[in-house]
């Protein structure tokens, strides 16, 4: 039978058995053609098929097998090595804290497309904080834990309506003003898409996010589960190669106590009440500026909390008569990209200015790097990225923040709110990122 295999392989354009992995998967139509042309008989073709499959099964790839329900399975991830320099000064203090850290992050994603519209997947990463996958190199070559960052089940009822359950990528259109990019919400999300001419579409996105599970035997807010409910319309309109995205939304919370076990950068363990936020984010992309593949993006995000006065006064215990209700947070940015960041030589730069007002945002979800996750901060974020090869890039990020309201103390005049304890801060991050 070796002769049959070799004959077939020779006829298949000189491919050798060393390419069995590719050949075994692609040879079906070719063998059928050989049979049709009378080059090999049906019996010889069957033996050839079986032999190629057996050769393939002996390869590394052939020894992996997936369940029959899996239509496709993608493994991906990245490794990031970071050098971070940071300074910060706490409100009411004169000393500045300075620190330099070497950090790393590893992420591994597995995403499977199953039959009948089902999907599932997982992601592992190197830290258990919701808003960071980083580990700081410490303690004499210690090893580090791996945590489950995502585990989800998706179901597409049709091309327009789909659901995802579990812990998943953030389904909302957002910037890191309100949502740190590392957060994978947990709960349920739904998207319904209306499609118009061309690629234009309007998506209705909803997220029911479990923020805290409390024991119902307790009285009052301590016995309620903390839920975040976000609803958003995302409208995408194309003008030739240019595009516009507008995304208004409403975010509310159930009244509940948030526990003390959170590991995010600025955990707020008070109540989730008094947050009813109207959000509005968007961007305009100018494509092909000064040549194909070059683009400019202008982007914005904002959040207005209708209950800000109560939030600031009752939850953070800050006198609104003195400091204001601080209901509005916003971000405005512009970026330039050469290429899509997937090819050697691609690069991008961007800068944004933002104002993270005390009463306007949830500190448990806002960016952990901007003012170390503190509210009552305003300032810049500058980012740049350069692809040294297709799959690896050098990234630089710089954050500079100062307090919006100086000397923001609680009603006792001495204590700063736990989520707004910074006078100013700077962070510089230099990253090497390799994706696979």
């Amino acid at each position: 039978m070796r002769n049959i295999a070799k004959t077939g392989l020779a006829l298949c354009g000189g491919l050798a058995l060393t390419a069995a992995s590719a050949l075994a998967q692609d040879s079906g139509p070719l063998i059928d053609l050989l049979v049709k042309k009378g080059v090999v008989s049906d019996q010889e073709a069957e033996e050839l098929r079986a032999e190629l499959t057996q050769e393939y099964a002996k390869t590394s790839a052939g020894k992996l097998s997936l369940g029959s329900s899996v239509q496709s399975f993608k493994l991906s991830g990245d490794v990031r090595i970071r050098h971070q320099m940071e300074t910060k000064q706490t409100t009411g203090k004169t000393a500045t804290d300075e620190r330099t850290r070497e950090r790393f992050r590893f992420r591994l994603n597995g995403d499977a497309v199953l039959a009948k519209g089902w999907t599932t997947g997982f992601a592992f990463e190197t830290a258990n904080a919701a808003d960071s996958g980083n580990q700081t190199f410490t303690n004499s070559n210690d090893d580090y834990n791996i945590y489950l960052a995502r585990a989800y089940v998706g179901y597409a009822y049709n091309d327009n309506l789909n659901f995802t359950l579990g812990k998943f990528k953030n389904p909302l259109y957002t910037t890191d003003l309100a949502w740190d990019g590392d957060i994978n919400p947990q709960g349920l999300t739904e998207t319904y898409t209306f499609r118009f001419d061309g690629k234009d579409k309007l998506e209705v996105r909803a997220l029911q996010n479990i923020m805290q599970d409390n024991d119902e035997k307790n009285w009052g807010d301590a016995g309620n589960d903390a839920w975040l409910f976000a609803q958003q319309l995302v409208y995408t309109k194309f003008f030739g190669a240019n595009s516009l995205i507008l995304a208004p939304g409403l975010t509310t919370y159930s009244n509940a106590n948030l526990g003390t076990a959170m590991t995010n950068e600025t955990p707020f363990a008070g109540t989730s009440s008094k947050l009813t936020m109207l959000t509005f984010a968007g961007e305009y992309n100018f494509a092909n500026i000064a040549g194909s593949g070059n683009g400019i993006k202008v982007y914005f995000d904002s959040s207005y909390n209708f209950d800000a006065s109560s939030r600031v006064s009752q939850v953070y215990n800050v006198n609104t008569a003195t400091h204001g209700k601080e209901a509005f947070a916003w971000l405005l940015g512009v970026g330039y990209n050469h290429g899509s960041g997937k090819a050697q030589g691609d690069y991008s730069v961007k800068v944004d200015y933002r104002r993270s007002a005390l009463g306007a945002l949830d500190p448990n979800t806002s960016d952990s790097d901007f003012g170390f996750g503190n509210l009552n901060q305003e300032g810049f974020k500058i980012g740049a990225s350069y692809n040294i090869v297709d799959f690896a890039s050098l990234n630089l990020s710089y954050f500079y923040t100062t307090a919006i309201k100086d000397n923001l103390f609680q009603k006792d005049g001495k204590t700063t709110p736990t989520v707004a304890k910074l006078d100013h801060s700077q962070i510089l991050q230099a990253d090497l990122v390799v994706k696979f």
């Binding site: 049906d42 099964a57 009948k116």
Partner: protein, 275 residues
């Protein structure tokens, strides 16, 4: 001691000659009629051979070769790569031998006015894209779709040949074998199913012509299957662990010989070898 070993060896040889048994498992398509009849014919020249035949679906036949619980695995489909890999892991090399060809006929109730269907219509019916006979020119009435069960090679072959590997309609009903499908379609005016060529003469059913790209309706027959003009034709296999030897080889050779292939034709399949 040497004398004792010689006696034991002689006893083993004698017992082997007198107690040979051929275990054949797998496809209902092959195992319902063809292989039992072939076994009977084979026994006329090999009276001491006992057969154990279990026709419970191609998957069971391939698994039996992998697990070394049968010498021959009958299959109406090719072994899947994952099955071949599993066999290799146990040191078993799957060797296919084509013993016959089969045309998978689309059958309807004899009272049904539909006489032909396009490839696309067949796909639409069995996947559930259409649900009523009016969609394909028939009388009003929901399709009653009868398929083989999931361990059947015919079940997966049909998905590959007729349904572009899509899933069956959720309303489809799974039957144990060809005869059961033919019987259900004969009873149900809205019934539709598929059976092997050997089962197309069952009472109460009619075979539907299949209209391909050349717009000509083709019925399954020896001629159209051999000429490869009928779209739902397939080889059927004996799987063995490597090249068959001994009694297994004798039976495979018998199947491929003139007598075996005549039986193939008699039972309603299309011969794999012309004599």
């Amino acid at each position: 001691m040497k004398k004792l070993l010689s006696i034991l060896a002689a006893l083993l040889c004698v017992s082997a000659a007198y107690g040979q048994k051929l275990v054949i498992k797998g496809s209902d398509t092959l195992g319902a009629k063809l292989v039992p009849q072939a076994a009977e014919a084979f026994k006329t020249t090999h009276p001491d051979v006992a057969f154990e035949i279990a026709a419970e679906g191609s998957t069971t036949g391939i698994a039996a070769i992998t697990d070394s619980t049968a010498q021959i695995g009958m299959s109406s489909r090719r072994a899947k790569p994952v099955e071949i890999s599993a066999a290799l892991a146990k040191g078993v090399t799957m060797k296919p031998t084509i013993v016959a060809y089969d045309g998978m006929a689309v059958i309807v109730n004899e009272a049904n006015p539909v006489t032909e269907l396009t490839l696309r219509q067949v796909e639409q019916i069995f996947t559930g894209d259409v649900t009523d006979w009016t969609a394909v020119g028939g009388n009003p009435g929901k399709f009653s779709i009868y398929t083989r069960n999931t361990s059947s090679g015919t079940y997966s072959d049909w998905k590959e040949l007729a349904m572009k590997k899509r899933d069956y309609a959720s309303s489809s009903q799974k039957m144990a074998g060809n005869e059961q499908i033919a019987a259900e379609v004969a009873k149900n005016p809205n019934g539709i199913g598929y059976v092997g060529l050997a089962y197309t003469h069952a009472p109460g059913i009619r075979v539907v012509g299949i209209v391909g790209k050349d717009k000509i309706a083709v019925l399954p027959s020896n001629q159209t299957v051999q000429a490869k003009t009928y779209p739902y034709a397939r080889p059927t296999f004996f799987y063995t662990n490597g090249e068959p030897s001994g009694l297994t080889a004798e039976f495979v050779d018998f199947m491929l010989g003139a007598e075996g292939q005549a039986l193939v034709q008699k039972v309603g399949f299309v011969p794999a070898v012309q004599h």
